[in-house]
């Protein structure tokens, strides 16, 4: 029986990779910020106001939460489309919530936070995904073009995956056949997720948001049995004998 994501009439979770702009602040002085951003807005107003922006801070900047909140206000007043604060800013979720912003990790859940306090928070969130393998979904029918399969744990596919098909898993993905479609592992940020396939011909592969398109797959591994993993930010391809 093919297990596919069926249409729900109330809501649907969709795994998506989105492009966002990271605005890295090097100075939290409200006046300077106002000046600089206004200038930039004159040059590229629409783009800047529409692009979803995540605020980050440069490594050597001392982050004073009050100053950061003032900076957020300034940016907002200028119409910048703020979406979230990067966890590297050291701002906790509650403070961020007061600003009406979420927090997110900029590097697939493996941030080294700048302050010691948020560290436990990051680790605590990581542990569930790393040790808790929820249901493994096994699919034994071909996954056809246009079909999407989502697994909250690992995903094992025993039949070919056509171009135009999408495999998504919060854990690992194993394709014991030809992989011609897209495979996105670790979709909730688990950078330790891996993709295994018997014949690599994928349109796109991704682990925790780090992706490669078909063009960028190493020639040596094309059409072969390979497993893909993430080392830092780089995708590693290892031949399966």
């Amino acid at each position: 029986m093919t297990v596919v994501v069926e249409e729900n009439t109330v809501l649907e979770f969709k795994g998506r990779m989105l492009m966002m702009t990271v605005l890295q602040l090097k100075n939290l002085d409200a006046n300077l910020l106002h000046q600089e951003v206004s200038q930039r807005l004159e040059d590229a107003a629409q783009w800047l106001q529409e692009a979803p922006v995540v605020i980050d801070v440069s490594q050597d900047l001392e982050v004073d939460p009050v100053a950061l909140m003032a900076a957020v206000d300034t940016l907002r007043s200028l119409g910048v489309n703020l979406v979230a604060l990067a966890r590297t800013t050291g701002i906790d979720s509650d403070t961020a919530a007061m600003l009406g912003l979420g927090t997110l990790s900029l590097s697939g859940g493996r941030d080294v936070p700048r302050r010691s306090e948020p560290a436990p928070q990051v680790e605590a969130e990581k542990v569930p995904t790393a040790t808790q393998r929820i249901e493994t979904l096994v699919v034994d029918q071909p996954v056809r073009s246009g079909q999407q399969v989502y697994s909250r744990g690992d995903l094992i596919v025993l039949a070919p995956v056509s171009t135009g098909a999408e495999l998504m898993a919060e854990g690992n993905i194993h394709v014991y056949s030809k992989l011609r479609g897209r495979a996105l592992a670790g979709v909730r940020g688990d950078g330790s997720a891996r993709i295994f396939c018997q014949q690599l011909n994928a349109e796109l592969v991704s682990i925790a948001g780090h992706y490669r398109v078909a063009e960028d797959l190493p020639e040596a591994h094309r059409n072969r049995a390979v497993y893909l993993s993430l080392e830092g930010d780089a995708m590693q391809f290892t031949a399966l004998s």
Binding site: T2, V4, E6, R144, G164
Partner: protein, 271 residues
């Protein structure tokens, strides 16, 4: 037991209507009472291919909306016994098709007209018309040209057939879908311009019903309003005949898949 068969493809222009006409005619020739229905509302072609375009009074939408009953709308084929055509509407649009309406028509064909086979000629695409043609099907014939875009679209439609039919919704599982490869040219396959039968089967992974060669006979058939299967001397006509036999369960080898190597005499006498 009445069998409803959808002839579909995803991609346009690959030979669905030609195939629907040939399949329906082939079944009727073998004694089965058959109706072929055109689901392409607004872009009606089946009546041209079947040669009954000058006898259309009522169409599928008329029957659905109750302007006519099925007996009034069905056109009896002049060349072959047991064969009936239900044309599509040319002036309405596909919103006139409703699930209940189509179900009503199919029930009437089954119960009142006692049809053995109902062939549903699907429009191209994956929108309402195509979905409606496939919804009540017991079997599917997926028509594909041996080239990349047609194969991808066929793959898409096979995936849709696995979930968007009544049988699938009721939990009976996938309806059997078989591949009909059309416009096949062994010379082009050999020169690498087109995909081979094996290439296509590797991607689509469904049973092969038949291979129809690229043939002038198809154009002649549509021009004369006589389904190509009636042109028994032509390669395409014979290939369709083989396909109908396989559809009914015969095992036949696939002809017209290899390049015709002309021997010396062939070259001398242009055989």
């Amino acid at each position: 037991m009445t069998k409803i068969v959808v002839v579909t493809s995803g991609k346009g222009g690959v030979g669905k209507t030609t195939t629907s006409a040939a399949l329906a005619t082939g079944l009727a020739l073998r004694g089965f009472k058959t109706t072929v229905i055109d689901f392409d509302v607004g872009l009606r072609n089946l009546d041209l291919i079947m040669g009954c375009e000058r006898r259309v009074v009522y169409d599928l939408v008329n029957v659905i909306s109750g302007d006519a009953n099925i007996k009034q709308a069905l056109i009896k084929d002049k060349k072959v016994d047991n064969l009936f055509i239900l044309p599509a509407s040319q002036t309405r649009d596909k919103d006139a098709l409703t699930t209940e309406g189509v179900e009503g028509v199919l029930n009437a064909l089954r119960d009142d007209m006692k049809m053995d086979y109902i062939i549903c000629d699907s429009p191209a695409g994956i929108e309402k018309g195509a979905l409606m043609a496939a919804y009540f099907a017991d079997e599917a014939v997926v028509v594909t040209n041996p080239e990349v875009s047609s194969v991808r679209d066929s793959d898409r439609i096979i995936g849709i057939l696995a979930s968007k039919t009544r049988h699938a919704e009721q939990g009976d599982g996938d309806i059997p879908a078989r591949l009909l490869l059309t416009r096949y040219s062994p010379e082009r396959v050999e020169s690498g311009q087109m995909l081979s039968v094996e290439d296509v089967q590797e991607i689509l992974a469904i049973e092969l019903l038949g291979v129809i060669p690229e043939s002038q006979a198809v154009l002649n058939a549509s021009n004369s309003g006589s389904p190509v299967i009636l042109d028994i001397d032509s390669d395409a006509g014979q290939a369709y005949s083989d396909a109908v036999a396989r559809f009914l369960g015969d095992q036949l080898p696939h002809r017209f898949v290899n390049v015709n190597k002309k021997g010396l005499f062939g070259r001398l006498f242009g055989g």
